[in-house]
Symmetry: C2
Subunit: 392 residues, 2 copies
């Protein structure tokens, strides 16, 4: 394992030492990816990290070939077939053996006790989340010990991306953008929102695997078009069977997942030629987005990018239509909590943070626009991981 | 609301009376769908059901137009924009007001305390699950009361489908089968497993919305082909970039979600003409699947369909390759726990249960086959909700 790859685990272990955590027990897919660089298929894998050394990855036999032994000691277990033990019997065996061999009795152990928003496992049709039974098991095993919520520590270390994650995020963004750009070439009156979104997802799913080493690739595209549909895109609004018309604004919100690493983009297009007003509004928004991005340097406040975007929109008379935040962390999840680029957000930007930069304006009767890129806080300022947009 | 629609909520309320539950508080998307026929987009909606009368559905403003007021009293709340309160502040206000107006202090209230496998909300890229913070809130509000795990009650009532659900499941299966059948016509050497799966998902996503009233449609297709790839399909195995060849077996595992109702199908195909041995094995498996389905009548045991399938395969000398269960419940989730068609499963089939019937055989060096349909336990025997297959 290269120094660059190992770095994120070492950073986490340094934090564990500070907090006196002797081990971490993780089941959320996003944390299993973080510790082992393996995106669980069924969501039942467990990663256990000691304060020093490699994690153990406990994984169903059928998934073993996707794991990476440079990252973790992989321990397969039978699951899902008639021959196999019950899942929780296996969980108990695994954790008991770790407690014994790492001598964890009476030590503080971190677990995921306070999540709600999570990244999916590869099998998006059926998430599996550690809830009641898992907490009961951990409570029984660590009764003599102290079970600590490791969520804050995990979010803190995940917020600073190493070169390895940054490269993965570039790949996810590249796969996403190729699909958007080739779909936009086919944009014409009569196609529905759902068809546009389905086409983007299709291209990502069919062409993503194999691209620069990507294996497991998924996408969710939601499209809102026209004066009404595009305005609804302030939050996730499902694509509808509305057929786009000449001069409609088209907003594409796209999550792309590549081996457990996420891209979060919003693209704007117009069917045919944009009107002068569409150009004017789009270009003011783009200016606001670029102004926000320019504030992404180490030591600047979480608030500064948001403030910069609002100032540009105020000068253009559009600030009252900008009703949401400017950005959020992105990487091991579609939305990560650090950093938060919003009015009143407390925090200081650090080199290695990656966030969405996505001011948006939603003008009743006219339409909604949002431009969203994924940007790294570099040592000397912003580094776009997606392709900066051009004025219309 | 028609009597048929209301029936499932009334059945649940009858069970609540038996268990002395004065109300249910649900957040899992599958239970919100069950109570209100609304598939949450972001996964943060709450459905609260009194022992008599309509549920209250607490839903983000942006999602309100998708809700159905015949099913529930819809209470929108602001979420996600700068103007909005924090989510948990709103949750507390909602539940406090319900406790006051329904006079729930000191009464037993059911909540989802022991799930792990869940159905996704529409936004599959980022599941939201009620975990630590939600349990803390419920614990604070119902401190004087008794908070009861309602999971068993919910699974029990969900296992018996009413005519309304059955119709929804037929639609989900129709959407799925149209996409599979049209994709299989395009099957030819050189196409990759990922491309086959992506094409099926594309057709479902682009053509599903609008079909017989369907609105929100998603799919996950995983394809395994050739002597190795098809054999791996015993569990979820991701599609790869393997290019199918003449005479390859192709196994398509497909989850289809339509407005919160699920279809779970496995289709088999051969690239070009099947070999005599492929035909022989396929047709023996089909005979086993049909034998299992014939056992789906009220009063029969959960074990009987599984036993029937194994007997047919034993006569064909193939039973040692049948390494998993015969079926599971399906409907409000990709996999529901009731009924379980497996060796040793305890339980009695009841009219209205819907399950997968999916014997499979996986022969090293030859390939794997599974035939999976969704079948209703009718008053007089099995009623296929998907299309019964034909011999090769």
């Amino acid at each position: 394992m290269s120094a660059n790859r190992r770095l994120r685990v070492e950073n986490l272990q340094a934090l564990m030492a500070q907090k006196d955590l002797s081990a971490l027990v993780c089941r959320l897919p996003e944390n299993v990816v973080y510790l082992t660089d393996y995106w669980p298929h069924h969501g039942i894998s467990v990663a256990v990290l000691p304060r020093e050394g490699k994690p153990i990855l406990f994984v169903p036999e059928v998934e073993q070939e996707y794991t990476q032994s440079e990252w973790a000691e992989v321990v397969p277990f039978g699951w899902g077939l008639l021959k196999d033990k019950e899942l929780y019997e296996n969980y108990r065996l695994l954790i008991d053996s770790v407690v014994a061999s790492w001598n964890l009795k009476g030590k503080k152990v971190g677990a995921e006790l306070s999540f709600e928003v999570v990244a999916p496992s590869y099998r998006i049709a059926e998430p599996v989340v550690p809830s009641g039974p898992w907490n009961t098991l951990l409570g029984e095993i660590f009764a003599e010990s102290h079970l600590v919520d490791a969520t804050p520590v995990l979010h803190e270390v995940r917020a600073i991306k190493t070169g390895y994650e940054i490269e993965k995020l570039r790949i996810a963004n590249s796969i996403a953008e190729k699909a958007i750009q080739s779909t936009l070439k086919e944009l014409k009156p009569g196609i529905t929102e759902t068809q546009i979104g389905a086409l983007i997802e299709y291209k990502i799913r069919s062409e993503g695997p194999g691209f620069q080493g990507a294996k497991l690739v998924r996408a969710e595209a939601e499209v809102g078009a026209g004066p009404v549909g595009s305005t609804k895109g302030t939050l996730l609004v499902p694509s509808t069977t509305y057929r786009v018309q000449e001069r409609d604004l088209v907003m594409i919100e796209l999550a792309t997942m590549v081996d457990g690493y996420f891209s979060d983009l919003t693209y704007m297009a117009v069917v045919g030629e944009p009107s002068p007003r569409q150009k004017e509004v789009h270009n003011a928004l783009l200016e606001a987005q670029q102004a926000a991005a320019r504030e992404l340097y180490p030591g600047n406040s979480f608030e500064a990018p948001d403030r910069a975007a609002r100032e540009v929109l105020k000068r253009a008379g559009l600030d009252t239509y900008f009703v949401h935040i400017t950005g959020h962390g992105v990487g091991m999840r579609y939305h990560e909590p650090i950093p938060l680029l919003a009015p009143g957000a407390k925090g200081v930007l650090q080199e290695g943070m990656v966030c969405s930069v996505e001011p948006g304006i939603y003008i009743p009767g006219f339409g909604g626009l949002r431009i969203e890129d994924n940007v790294l806080v570099g040592a000397n300022g912003p580094i776009f991981l997606s392709t900066p947009r051009q004025p219309w």
